[in-house]
Symmetry: C2
Subunit: 147 residues, 2 copies
Amino acid sequence: MELFSHEYYMNEALKQAKYAFEEGEIPVGAVIVSNNRIIARAYNQTEKLHDVTAHAEMLAITSAANSLGAKYLTDCKMYVTLEPCQMCAGALFWAQISELHFGASDPKRGFMKVNSKALHPKTKISTGILAEQSESLLNEFFNKLRK
Amino acid sequence: MELFSHEYYMNEALKQAKYAFEEGEIPVGAVIVSNNRIIARAYNQTEKLHDVTAHAEMLAITSAANSLGAKYLTDCKMYVTLEPCQMCAGALFWAQISELHFGASDPKRGFMKVNSKALHPKTKISTGILAEQSESLLNEFFNKLRK
């Protein structure tokens, strides 16, 4: 049963990305859904935490696992505003996430170009949900940074 | 100036792997060295923390960044008992670690097979240091598990 649409959940991820933007972080946000319920919300915090591992996806995986008390996210869906990097794809592989939905593509650092088989074979992927909104938030951030 | 040998630091990583073994975790340990000083020590804690991201390397990177108050580990060397997976290699890429030394190879999940260019182009790699000790600890762990 699907109570909410993919767009609904991606919009929740976008809200997280906007928090990142406001805090001067590269604006990427993620949520993890289990049984139609959002069990984890996170945004990129690499600057604040001085930690390259603090991507939205990584924080969301840790948070979801805490919420479930289990390390495998086999019945969970991730919605993330940007295509995951190889680190995050590797984490999603270990977590055996059921579905990965991402918004904008990342042709430079996204996992799809480097290793399109990075995810677990059971993980279903969809791309492009609210991609324009995610991309324009990222562009606004980098344009601001360059000024 | 090299005060200690690669074997010395890898032996410190092996001590961490042994802590993991004692706690029922897959025995992998890592240390990070800056200016000849160990600034981070960690071992795999995926079971204890119910968190697939809690690999020794990830915990060591976060700990080293905390110690330095900076997210880039450009003057740091990692010693880890097993070849990093793609998640950890991705994290080492972002951290721009200066040197990666690993013990045993991991032909199944190691990054070298999947994507040998996963690390930052500036990162120097050496392999095989105390590999036999690392491997026999892993074998002992998995043999015990199978019984």
